[in-house]
């Protein structure tokens, strides 16, 4: 599928933050995963999928920019394996050929599967307010923004039940928090 390289199901346009090339971000999971990648030309599949890939999808990074990053940084990255994993599995840019739903998570999964959160500036249990982990508000914003594309997906429906039950005040706080983080993405 040569057209795989052009797919952008969500129409994501945001530039890749500069700290993807340095690891200089206060988010410890991203900082450590990126610095490890720069040191070893390697990260394992969950670091690629649930840390860097997860953040990029939640933040709406253009898949072209992300492809360029994954294709360059990993010693095992050759287009046939990189583009299908990045655009397909990780970014759902193919609209569901490789996977049945986007692989996104809030801070909860990262905390559960690793030890990055223990010494992070951000608090994984906090959704809004000072030091709230960006993954949390970005996660709910992602579902809200992409409601027309995802709400009818049977594997996702439950997320919208939860989202719909939230009070308007809480949702407003969450989405404002997310927008604030996105507008200052370079200094996260």
């Amino acid at each position: 599928m040569p057209e795989f390289a052009k797919m952008n199901y969500f129409g994501h346009e945001r530039a890749l933050p500069n700290w993807f090339w340095t690891g200089e971000t206060k988010m410890n999971c991203l900082s450590k995963s990126i610095k490890q990648s720069l040191e070893h030309a390697y990260a394992h599949h969950i670091q690629r999928l649930m840390v860097t890939g997860n953040f990029a999808l939640l933040a709406g990074i253009h898949p072209d920019a992300l492809d360029e990053w994954y294709l360059g940084i990993y010693i095992d990255a050759i287009e046939w394996v990189e583009i299908t994993n990045t655009r397909g599995m990780s970014q759902f840019a193919d609209g569901g050929i490789v996977g049945t739903k986007p692989y996104v998570s809030s801070a909860n999964y990262i905390q559960k599967m690793g030890n990055y959160c223990s010494n992070c500036v951000y608090e994984y249990g906090k959704k809004t307010g000072e030091k709230a982990c960006p993954f949390n508000s970005l996660y709910w914003r992602f579902y809200e923004v992409n409601r027309p594309l995802l709400e009818k997906n049977p594997r996702i429906g439950m997320m919208y039940v939860t989202l719909n039950k939230m009070s308007d005040t809480h949702k407003k706080e969450l989405f404002e928090q997310a927008e604030k983080y996105l507008s200052g993405i370079e200094s996260l």
Binding site: Y42, H44, I75, T84, G114, Y116
Partner: protein
């Protein structure tokens, strides 16, 4: 008749049937090229790893009695472009027939098709003899279906090769042990120590710096930790099966900020350059499990085989679908 056979940087399969016989009239060509270092901004270890492994391959072929033309990155005769280098060699050596192995990327596949159109000699395309199933296997399997499904693809490959099978049933009665494979790692069991590969790559690193190609990332040239030939790759495979496989499945999704490797195989570079064959990798893991079922449970080995025989082949099938 004089034949030129091209070997790309990710076609380092010494077991390929091309090498079964030494042929007087066959010349092998390998090129380190700027077109390859520059199509993306690569990590320095990626460029070093590919060039080092290509050089090892060329040396081995020569030792085995094959004729090899090898262009290093700074060689003056190197035109840094695949078409130009091939045309040059065809003229220089009076080549009358050209052969290559089908590339895994569209980029190189279409470039080679274009090159062949412009050549005045005959050509033939071979497979790399690397993957478990053919390039169009997935497409044929799911023809007319709305969605492709990893699980049915994976089961078909397992059945076809008899990997962990008891007749037509999966060993242990279950195809998938993914639910046993989601543990957090809290420091125990200890991660494997004594990784067997340490390469000195300062010379190649200096050459790449001289070439002025752009790269990212860091490197410790006195202690390069990736295998660059088949025997090193086999050592990494052996190390994995012995030291990491007993815990691979359980902790394959775990993350640790101080332990980049945990129980992962570190075989992706050796596999993607084709220094190792996926079948031998899967069989080594199964043998380790059969020989020591007390240390390696079925869930650990199934989790690993799912990655190699399932996911990896599936992704390649989707790419070429």
């Amino acid at each position: 008749m004089k034949t030129l056979r091209l070997l790309l940087g990710d076609q380092l399969n010494l077991q390929h049937s091309w090498f079964k016989q030494k042929e007087e009239n066959v010349l092998y060509a390998m090129f380190e090229m700027r077109q390859e270092t520059d199509y993306a901004k690569h990590h320095i270890q990626k460029i070093v790893g590919f060039f080092a492994a290509m050089r090892e391959m060329a040396d081995t072929l020569e030792k085995n009695g094959h004729k090899v033309i090898y262009y290093k990155i700074n060689d003056t005769s190197n035109k840094q472009d695949l078409g130009l280098n091939l045309t040059q060699l065809i003229l220089e050596y009076d080549i009358t027939h050209f052969e290559y192995q089908a590339p895994d990327e569209y980029r190189l596949s279409s470039q080679l098709e274009q090159i062949c159109k412009s050549l005045k000699i005959t050509h033939e395309v071979y497979t790399t003899e690397h993957f478990l199933v053919s390039q169009d296997f997935l497409g044929k399997m799911f023809q007319g279906k709305k969605q492709v499904i990893l699980e049915s693809f994976y089961r078909t490959v397992r059945k076809q090769y008899g990997f962990l099978m008891e007749g037509s049933e999966p060993e242990g009665g279950k195809w998938n042990y993914d639910h046993d494979n989601r543990k957090k790692w809290n420091g125990t069991p200890a991660v494997p120590k004594g990784f067997p590969v340490h390469n000195e790559v300062s010379a190649i690193f200096e050459e790449i710096k001289t070439s002025e190609c752009v790269y990212i990332g860091e490197i410790k040239p006195s202690d390069f930790l990736w295998p660059i030939n088949r025997s090193q790759s086999l050592k990494v495979l052996e190390f994995f099966c012995k030291e990491a496989l007993p815990h691979f499945g359980s902790f394959q999704d775990a993350m640790d900020q101080k332990e980049p490797w945990l129980f992962h195989s570190r075989l992706s570079f050796a596999l993607n350059t084709k220094m190792l064959h996926p079948k031998e990798v899967v069989e080594a893991a199964i043998t380790a499990y059969k020989n020591n079922p007390e240390a390696i449970s079925l869930a650990q080995v199934e989790g690993f085989i799912r990655q190699i025989a399932g996911w990896r082949e599936y992704m390649r099938g989707i790419y070429w679908w």
